[in-house]
Structure formats: C-alpha cells, structure tokens
C-alpha cells in the first residue's frame, strides 16, 4: 500500500503547495505503515522531481508526455486513477487549488471514493477510523469529519503542515498510463499569464492593496515593497472591479483564498468578505490611516498612518536589514 500524492508542476519543478502535499502524504504514510509515491505529469526536470524525496517521498511516477503539460483535470484524473490502482493506494493527497480540486473530484468519482477538500491538519487515525479537520464557512469555522469510504481523496490547504525538508532523493520512474481522446476534446486557444511568476496561492508573503491606494498609478511603492520582500501582490474586490489590478489578484470571499505566512494589507478596510479570504494567514499586518478600520481587529501588527508615506520607508528598512 502506498499513499499517492498528485503534484502540480510549474516551470518544470514541483510547486511549493505540492511540496507540502508530499510532506503531508509522507506523514500519513508513516501513520499507516505505507510507502509514499508521487505522481508528476507533463514535462518536468528529472532532478527537480527527485527532490520529492526531500519531503518524504520514496518514488516518483513520471509521465513526461507533452500532452499532459497543459493543465487538464480530465486527463490528470484518468492517469491518477491508474497510478492509484498500480500502487494499491487507499489515500490520495493533493494540494487544494482550482486544478487540485478538479482532479480530486473527478478521481474520487471514478474510484467511488470520498473527497474532502480544504483540510487544515494532519488526520487522526485510530482503530480503523480516519478523521480530518477541514475549514468551512470561508474560514469562519472548522468541521471534523470521519472519512468512511475505503479510498480517501484529500485536498489540503496551504500551511496544513510545515515541511522539514531533508537531503533525501526519490527515485524517478517513467510511467506510461493510457490516455483517452475524450479527455482532450477542449482546445486551448490562448493563455494569459501574469509577468511575475509568483503565484498568490504559493506565496509565503503577500502585499495587498485596497481602495485606499486611490488609483492604479499608485501601485509602484506597493510593488517595490513586495519586490524587496519577495512577495506576491494582491488586492481587494473593488480594486479589481475598477480594473486597477488584474482580476486574478482579487482576494476574499468571492476571490482567491490565501494562507501565506505574512499578509500585509495596505489601505484595505477589512470588510468581512475580504477577511474570509485571508483568515488562514499566519500573521497579518494592517496599514490604514483610519484607527477604526475593522481590519485592525484581525491583525497581529498595525500601523495607523498614510500608506504613501509608510510603504517607501518599509521598503528601505527591508533593504537596509539585508
């Protein structure tokens, strides 16, 4: 028996959220006395894939078929099920994301397995019961559920586990599952990727701006701080509605849910719908000129002041402390 982890590949390497999924899967494998296998699809660097071992995997199944380089949840699920059958996997782990959820769901339906998404902690396993804790009501609460089906598909949220990477390497084995034409009926006509390749869901630090930024032309100081910190940039809903920033930066209840180690909110009031997207963050810093801004109630550190005056000073302080 093997715990199987599906990983997402970005620029030929394993995404950070997927590294967490491997570490999570390896821990579960230890509890179950099982081995840890990773499934990687599409073009990827073999040496990069071997680093799955850093996070506890012993084996990586790699199908380098270029047909699988483009995100395709239908084909991925079809391949994942074949890998699960080959490895006799009863537990399948993925990182929660648009793609991860879709692959998890489709694989679960094929395997008649349960799919539990948004998991925030390691499972509790004892005497044949398997319990997981998941985030519900957009981070306002948690549910502990017993997973009863024989096969369990688990999509874990960022920061569900803190990996402690080692120097171990995994062996990478070629894997050639069957593919079906019916999984390739869609034609991708165009892909628009943001120039910065730091993704919001993967980022450890996010600097985010709200309507207090006053206009799209004022984002320079925020981007500079983000650059100094190696952070991704995000925004509130009105900011993307006004087209000041691209839609994929919109964070909150109706946007992306993020869980970085550090979230720095600049000129965002902290409406409950915005908080719903950031309440998984480890630390929150709020900079707002209004001391009554509700965001301060959800913050760990706060500065009451003018963002345009404070942002450049923070950037300097970061650069100075290097």
């Amino acid at each position: 028996m093997s715990v199987l982890i599906f990983v997402e590949i970005d620029n030929g390497t394993i995404k950070k959220t997927s590294q967490e999924a491997i570490a999570y899967g390896a821990q579960v494998a230890q509890m179950l006395n099982a081995s840890t296998t990773v499934l990687a699809l599409g073009q990827a660097d073999e040496a990069a894939l071997a680093t799955a071992g850093n996070f506890g995997a012993t084996k990586v199944l790699h199908d380098a078929n270029d047909k699988l380089t483009q995100e395709n949840s239908l084909a991925y699920a079809h391949v994942l099920v074949q890998a699960a059958q080959q490895e006799g996997s009863k537990v399948i782990v993925l990182a929660k994301s648009g793609l991860g959820d879709a692959v998890a769901a489709r694989a679960a339906a094929k395997l008649q397995a349960s799919v539990v998404s948004n998991i925030t902690d390691l499972p509790e396993i004892s005497e044949g019961t398997f319990k997981v804790k998941r985030s519900i009501y957009t981070g306002k609460a948690f549910a502990t559920v017993e997973v009863q089906s024989e096969i369990k598909v688990l999509a874990i949220r960022k920061n569900a586990i803190e990996p402690e990477p080692t120097d171990e390497l995994a062996t990478v084995e070629p894997f050639s599952p069957s593919l079906r034409d019916s999984d390739f009926v869609a034609t991708i006509t165009q892909v628009e990727k943001a120039s910065s390749n730091l993704s919001l869901t993967d980022a450890d630090i996010i600097v985010s701006g709200g309507r207090g930024m006053k206009g799209p032309e004022n984002w320079g100081p925020l981007e500079e701080l983000a650059k100094a910190l190696g952070a991704a940039t995000g925004c509130s809903k009105p900011v993307s509605d006004l087209d000041w920033r691209p839609h994929h930066e919109h964070i909150g209840q109706t946007g992306i849910k993020v869980a970085p180690n550090l979230y720095i909110a600049c000129g965002i009031s902290g409406a409950i719908q915005h908080l719903a997207g950031v309440n998984g963050s480890k630390y929150i810093v709020v900079i707002n000129k209004d001391p009554e801004a509700p965001f301060f109630k959800a913050a760990d550190y706060g500065i009451v002041g003018d963002i345009f005056e404070i942002l450049p000073r923070l950037t300097k302080a970061v650069e100075a402390s290097r």
Binding site: A109, V115, F142, E146, Y301, S321
Partner: protein, 245 residues
C-alpha cells in the same frame, strides 16, 4: 438549449457562525440566507444566455424546504422552473449524486454551478458531477459564450487566464465577472409565484463521510500597534518576533 443551474442556500456573507448541540449542529438562529454568491453569477449568466441564445433555465437545489425562498428568488430573476431534491446536503458526494441523477433524467446541454459553495467551500461538486455524467467540467469560469454546440470560455488558472473551446454538454463552475448579479423586478416576483417548483425525493447514496463536530478558530490575540513614526520597527518585529522574514 437546456440549462441547469445548481444553487445553494447559504448564510449571508456577513453571518456570524455558531453551533449548538455540543458543536454538532449549525445554529440557524438569527441567520439570513442567500443564494450562494457564485451560484448567483451562474444564474445571472444563464438568464442572459436565455435572452441571447434562447434557452430554458431550470434551477436545482439539494436541500430542505427552508431553501424555497431562495429558489423562488431564482425564479424571479428569470429561471423557468425549479427542482428541489428534498434532503439535507450532508456531503459533496451525496449532493453530486443527486444532481447527476436529475441531469441524466432530463438531459441538459449546460450545467452551471458556482465556483464553490459558501458553507462547504469544497469546489468539488462540478468535478464530481462532470465525471458521473462522463462530460468535461471546468472551473472557475469567468467568461462564457455559446456558439451553436460549442462553448467558448475563459477560466482562471494560477496567475492568469486560459481561453478554451469545448463541445457541449459541459459542467461549469462560475465566478465573476461572468455576469453581473441580477435583482428580481416586480414582474419577475409576480410570475415566480406561478412557476413550477418540483420537489423530488433523493436517490439513495452510501454514506462517505460523517460529521464528528464543528469548532471555531481560536480568538485572535491583541493587535500590536506600532506608532507611524517608528514604522521601520515593524520589519524588526517580523524578523525577530514573528520570524516570518
């Protein structure tokens, strides 16, 4: 064209969440319910497609009778008829089996859902239903046009957008800016009363998960305020105290 829109009946976005019965039941007291915001985008786009391309729009909810006002609202916004599967939506798999069952019976060209529900936040029901029906599913979809039997859509991918074309039938999880939320008008509200709302009993599904208990996040500690004059000290605190830099 036949469109099915799957809607959830969820606490409004500002609701304070609490539990009763030893943290095993959601406390409905004082909660006002809404159509899931993402489902509302799906519904709005379905009604637009009905006007532009000609279609019938059916709304479907798996839930108990207390969701009927939200279903009526969907009818007032422009859906033609509604189906409610009379059951507590216990988990995603259960819900997906019910939706797939209705879809197989009636045959839809397009099944629109929200990107995720506000209560379960799984983002998995579209994938489950797509697989159960053996048709593609895509999410989150931000733009959708139908050209004959082909859907042209844009969906969000990590850090960007992808445009694709796929043959119907499809299952799609929707999000803004696919359409603007619609508010029912007086005429819509009047006609909604006479539109059919068919209540059907669920098909049987083996239980996959069982809720143990709910819990709330630990209350947030005090926010440490840093005077604006000393803003730079934030960086030191983040480094030495929080250890996140």
């Amino acid at each position: 064209m036949k469109i099915l829109v799957c809607i959830t009946n969820v606490p409004d976005t500002t609701a304070k969440i609490t539990f009763t019965d030893n943290n095993t039941k959601f406390n409905k007291a004082g909660i006002s319910y809404i159509i899931g915001p993402y489902d509302d985008y799906a519904l709005a786009r379905a009604v637009e497609l009905k006007e532009s391309n000609g279609a019938t729009v059916t709304v479907l909810n798996v839930g108990e009778a207390d969701g009927d006002p939200q279903i009526r609202k969907a009818l007032a916004i422009g859906a033609d008829d509604a189906i409610r599967v009379n059951a507590e939506p216990t988990d995603s798999y259960f819900v997906a089996v019910q939706i797939a069952h209705i879809a197989k019976e009636n045959g839809y060209d397009l099944i629109l859902m929200g990107r995720e529900s506000l209560d379960f936040n799984s983002g998995v029901v579209h994938g489950l239903v797509g697989e159960m029906l053996g048709i593609p599913s895509y999410s989150p979809v931000m733009k959708l046009d139908i050209d004959g039997t082909t859907a042209k859509l844009a969906r969000e991918i990590d850090g960007g957008k992808e445009y694709l074309e796929a043959p119907l039938p499809l299952v799609l999880g929707c999000q803004e800016p696919i359409a603007e939320w619609k508010i029912p008008n007086m005429r819509g509200i009047m006609t909604a009363r006479t539109k059919p709302l068919n209540v059907v009993e669920p098909v049987e599904v083996a239980s996959m998960t069982n809720l143990e208990s709910y819990s709330l996040p630990a209350p947030k500690g005090e926010c440490k305020m840093i005077p604006a004059e000393e803003a730079e000290s934030l960086i030191t605190l983040l480094r030495k105290e929080a250890r996140v830099l």
